[in-house]
Symmetry: C2
Subunit: 338 residues, 2 copies
């Protein structure tokens, strides 16, 4: 079965996705009977569209050759135009750097794609944070898939486990290390480094963004927490419903207290049933050695679910880089068609 | 959507499944739009069949009232007869105590069910160990589901993660604590108890069977390892392909060596790519504190996957009792129809 794919956004994750598609194309045909056909790549400045099926191999290494130099590039071409050129609907792979306050430009892309019969595999969080309820309802109405493993901790299968592996169970709570950057910095603080030095090191290594506030102030964890809660427990949280704490002001005292108790200080995205009312928060939490997340240092992530019928289920590790995110996108696409 | 369900086997797991179905019936209707209708329960001595839709509520607590005393019980009724009475095909929930050398009686049930258009959610391993290749091919041909989360570590989502969450990735290896009984006994040995005393204690607690050889000689782990390998990596292993070691002969020396090194001795089901050839084995392995399985003591299980694109993914914990297995069966049924 041939599956048209349109990619929006061509930063590190978008590029990693194209590389992975080239690498895994033949394997996916053999193992899953799926023949992926990248028909367009849409950037802010224009779009590349394929002239014939299978042409995407010609942009196999977009890092080496700028996309704008590819044959098929049209300056100023918009998402709608690229969508209109596809033979039939397939999957929109959304990788634009989106804004979690407005959701744009992702929000417009997702709505238009779903309206036109395309399923979605998203790596960006913005639109989903802002408008999950309507997007999910639209996908349901049109019997399309709305997947976002790539937006909820990349290769760590948080969303799959929450919605597929725990199906039928009541979710009592979850708590997760959902942002690699903050865990990396906290690990360095525990080793005695100052916050400023740890942040600078993380930035030098490409772990933290030049503007680190999304991560270090807890917003990245908050977004992932609310996406998982809304998808797994049917809540309708917006970002205002999440009580958010960051790691800028971790005190030497808090670190010393944790160390004395043999605990490790983690920034957790937490979701729990508080006497019949679900709550979500991002909170610095000392974690004991017996806890499944204690072991996780550096950029490693993990999540612990508690349920009524399956007890506790913990999922940890998973590649935390553009290739890991690209692999999560590919997995979502495969699962849409199985 | 009304889903006919036939249950084969009515031991601890079968009973827990019926109780769970009663408990979750309304919730599944609301959350998933699925209306489960238990139409028959088949035992060796006969079968109970429903006279009208929704009647299964009358056997709501089968532990309190013997099934043979229920209205609808027919002595000597066979699986074929019960299958023939259903309005339409649905899901066979297979919970008989099966034999992993012959696969019977499960093997006959599974083939007949698939031949007649029923999907399968199995908690028994026997038939799958003996004949997975043909059963999987039959399910594919008839476009039916063959699920067996309940046979591969109950509430611990080994099969989901291997086949769904890691879709598209190449499985390089996995290693897991897949049998609660052996891990429980090993934990007690590490605390200084003798093998005989630890086994007796496990039997007294209902953790080990009266005949413990399936568990303590490594065969339970071997069966789960080969099922996961065959499902996730497309191998065609039979039990003869798995090199199996048990825990009867753990030496004081091995325990002391592990303790001195700060390691913990685990019985691991291992599957790995050995220079292009997949191998499977059950092996006593000293595990260091940094390993995701180190923390798991008592009956707690866990598995670590390694892949080319998603790195390492670890899944641990999950309820290890009849209710956890029942929850895994229910999950499989829900996922068949989503």
């Amino acid at each position: 079965m041939s599956i048209p794919i349109i990619l929006t956004g061509f930063g590190n994750v978008g590029k990693a996705f194209v590389r992975l598609l080239v690498e895994k194309h033949e394997d996916c045909r053999i193992r899953y009977g799926l023949d992926f056909d990248l028909t367009a790549v849409v950037r802010r400045t224009g779009a590349w569209t394929a002239k014939k099926e299978g042409e995407f191999f010609t942009i196999a290494d977009p890092a080496a050759e700028p996309m704008e130099a590819s044959s098929g590039w049209a300056s100023g071409m918009r998402f709608s135009d690229a969508l209109g050129r596809a033979r039939k609907p397939g999957v929109l792979v959304e990788c634009t750097p989106s804004n979690w306050r407005t959701g744009e430009p992702q929000l417009a892309y997702l709505h238009e794609a779903l309206d036109k019969g395309w399923s979605v595999a998203a790596a960006s969080k913005g639109a989903l944070v802002v408008d999950f309820k309507n997007l999910a309802a639209k996908a349901r109405t049109h019997k399309l898939a709305l997947k976002f493993s790539g937006a909820t901790a990349a290769a760590l299968p948080t969303l799959d486990v929450a919605t597929i592996s725990l199906a039928g169970a009541k979710l009592l709570s979850f708590e997760g290390i959902l942002t690699g950057t903050t865990n990396y910095i906290l690990s360095r603080l525990e080793q005695g480094m100052s916050f400023e030095a740890a942040l600078k090191e993380a930035q030098a290594k490409g772990i933290a963004e030049p503007d680190p506030s999304m991560d270090v102030d807890g917003w990245d964890t908050a977004c992932k927490t609310l996406l998982l809660a809304n998808a797994a427990a049917g809540t309708e949280f917006t970002i205002k419903d999440v009580k958010v704490e960051g790691i800028r002001h971790v005190t030497a005292g808090a670190l010393a207290d944790a160390r004395t108790a043999g605990h490790s200080l983690k920034l957790l995205g937490r979701f729990y049933d508080d006497a019949g009312k679900y709550r979500a928060e991002v909170k610095l939490t000392p974690v004991p050695p017996s806890h499944p997340l204690f072991r996780l240092t550096g950029t490693t992530k993990g999540i612990v679910f508690r349920t009524d019928t399956m007890g506790m289920v913990a999922v940890t590790d998973g590649k935390s880089d553009p290739r890991g995110t690209a692999a999560a996108l590919l997995k979502d696409i495969i699962n849409i068609y199985r």
